[in-house]
Amino acid sequence: MDLLVVNDLVKIYPGNVEALRGISFKVEPGEVYGLIGPNGAGKTTTLRIIATILEPTHGEVYVDGYSVVDQPDEVRRRISYLPEEAGAYKYLTGLEFLEFIAKIYTDDPRLRSEMIRDALAISGLGERIKDKIRTYSKGMLRRLLVAKTLMVKPKLALLDEPTAGLDVLNAQRIRYIIKEYAKKHGIAVLLSSHNMLEVEYLCDRIGILYRGKLIVEGSPKKLIEEYKVVNLEELFTKLIGEQYESF
């Protein structure tokens, strides 16, 4: 059974701005699926609809069989979302912030301890976890946020540009964590990214979004072979480069 089903999803913002024009895709349990596309393609809107923040204008989205429109509370129990421009409560310590999130997901102290232990390992913040978040660097904050997203072991993790704005070392570390943790705990991941290297490394399958439409979908390896290109970057340029320049 597919964990995520997106069927003919349309989103029109006030002012008749068409963000999504009938996209459909599925994500299986434990699969890492990447949404790639230029700015304004509809990646963030898709993630926000699945995260129950925005409402679809048309179409259906099911997470683990629950509709994001009719059963948003059930959906929220099964997902964990990391927005691109996420922050944290700067007057709490990293540990207090993780405890706050863990307490929301479970009232079982044993499970909470397990979550915190996992988060400490994921974030790699060591003793700095006891410091106030306002003292963290951008990389440390992002690692903390990735940790809070994955530690709850959701059925579906939604990661919007998980390594945006990070230096090479921090980005590499986060990519590794996502891949390992998803595999270890069978977490399905839907991520959006501009970084083709990242997508190629992380994703089992990808979907290329352009102007609110899913123009191609498949495994990175299969798509590279099919379109006779060297890598995903070349595929991306080949598929939408010319259209994008004239846009």
């Binding site: 006030p14 701005v17 997901y105």
Partner: protein, 433 residues
């Protein structure tokens, strides 16, 4: 309830640790009141102590050399002043040029004779003002105080010598007063205290409700805006929490901090005004003031005050509802604080207006309309209660609660939709797709 508790604890932690809240609510008022105390209370106390203390030198030119002039000199000495005796007034200017000489008193040659013959006696006081400072001026007025005090003593002595009652002589005609309030005849000794009591109920109570509402509105709006400023709002909306529970926890946290703030302010100002009063008055707050409040509470009645309490709760919830709705649509703390001032300002205006308007002579229909208007009805509620206008009282209390329920319902509906995320006030951000 579990999630409510988690969010409440998190909110309290964040608010207590947030220097903006700590500075605005506690540290700044504490410093201001502290400085006010330092300047006003301490210096006033110093000046008052200085004024009564018999310290310094007073020069005396005794041209009388009679019984009463010697009696006056001894009296001044008994107060602790040093006496510098001068033979004549020719050196007066030169002596007074010395800053340590407070004043010079010239007792004329007919001083004793005038007192003995029951005529008013005069003394001439000379003083040199070297500085316009308050403490210097007070020190230069000591001699007048001394003569006034001597004159009072002398007056009582003379009255006793003539076998008269000093109280009768000083106040041969006095008054007692009866005030009719809502068909009750009440004897009052001090009309000023009664006026003060009415002022308290008409102005201070709505003012307390206003200050509390301001606090709560500011704190709630700020705590919601903080979610956006710290970029947690999107995450919060995707968490498995009830959004209404989330907002309710924020309100309760604001109420807790708001009441602590009010208690802090109350204690600070009670201490401050208590200190000032204890300096300017030798007696503590008179028991007649408490009697006046007892009378007023009796007149307003528990049902009237209960209705006022219900209306105040309604008003606070109403204002909080507006604050929540507006705060949901702003992007940062500064905008949230700006819009809350828009809510608070009209209330302040109405509050001031109600001090000068007497609506008792207005037609009944106008009073009913007033009792339906939020903010306005609470400002005039004490008048409705005083005049026994039961319909206006009930309209005010019920409408306040209804407005609160309505605005909270609108807020809850908005929170449940995507508008909470997409609608922006002041600044429309480009929608990211």
């Amino acid at each position: 309830m579990r999630v409510f508790k988690i969010i409440l604890i998190k909110e309290l932690k964040s608010m207590i640790r947030d220097p903006k809240i700590l500075i605005a609510m506690f540290i700044v008022p504490f410093i201001i009141v502290g400085v006010m105390y330092g300047i006003v209370v301490f210096s006033t106390r110093q000046m008052v102590e200085e004024a009564v203390r018999g310290r310094g030198v007073i020069a005396i030119v005794d041209e009388d050399q009679g019984y009463w002039s010697k009696n006056l000199t001894e009296y001044i000495k008994s107060l602790g002043f040093k006496i510098l005796r001068l033979n004549n007034t020719t050196v007066l200017l030169e002596v007074l040029n010395n800053r340590s000489i407070l004043s010079a008193i010239v007792i004329p040659s007919d001083f004793t004779e005038n007192i003995t013959r029951n005529n008013t006696a005069y003394v001439e006081i000379y003083t040199y003002i070297h500085s316009p400072s308050m403490s210097h001026l007070i020190s230069r007025s000591k001699a007048i105080g001394v003569i006034m005090s001597y004159s009072q003593n002398l007056s009582e002595t003379i009255i006793k010598i003539h076998g008269l009652n000093p109280k009768y002589i000083s106040h041969p005609v006095n008054t007692t007063m009866t005030v009719i309030l809502k068909d009750k005849m009440i004897h009052v000794n001090d009309l000023g205290a009664l006026i003060g009591g009415f002022t308290m109920i008409n102005i201070a109570f709505p003012l307390i409700a206003f200050i509390l509402a301001s606090f709560l509105v500011q704190l709630t709006a700020t705590s919601i805006a903080v979610e956006k400023e710290e970029k947690m709002f999107e995450t919060i909306l995707s968490l498995p929490i009830n959004r209404l529970e989330f907002i309710a926890a924020k309100i309760v946290a604001a109420v807790i901090i708001g009441f602590i703030g009010i208690a802090f302010y109350g204690a600070l100002f009670a201490w401050y005004f208590g200190s000032v009063a204890s300096i300017s008055s030798s007696s503590p707050a008179s028991s007649s003031s408490f009697n006046v409040f007892g009378i007023l509470f009796d007149i307003y009645g528990s049902s009237g005050l209960g209705a006022f309490f219900i209306a105040s709760i309604g008003l606070i919830l109403f204002v909080l509802g507006i604050a929540i709705i507006l705060a949901l649509f702003v992007e940062d703390v500064r905008s949230a604080q700006m819009i809350t001032s828009y809510i608070v300002m009209p209330f302040m205006f109405v509050l001031v207006l109600s001090m000068f308007l007497d609506i008792t002579s207005y037609p009944q229909s106008t009073r009913y309309i007033i009792s339906l208007i939020p903010f306005v009805n609470i400002s005039f509620m004490s008048t409705f209660i005083f005049t026994g206008d039961q319909i206006a009282i009930h309209i005010s209390a019920l409408s306040s609660i209804l407005y609160a329920i309505l605005i909270m319902y609108i807020a809850s509906k908005l929170i449940g939709t995507e508008k909470v995320f997409t609608l922006k006030l002041f600044r429309r951000k480009k929608i990211r797709t």
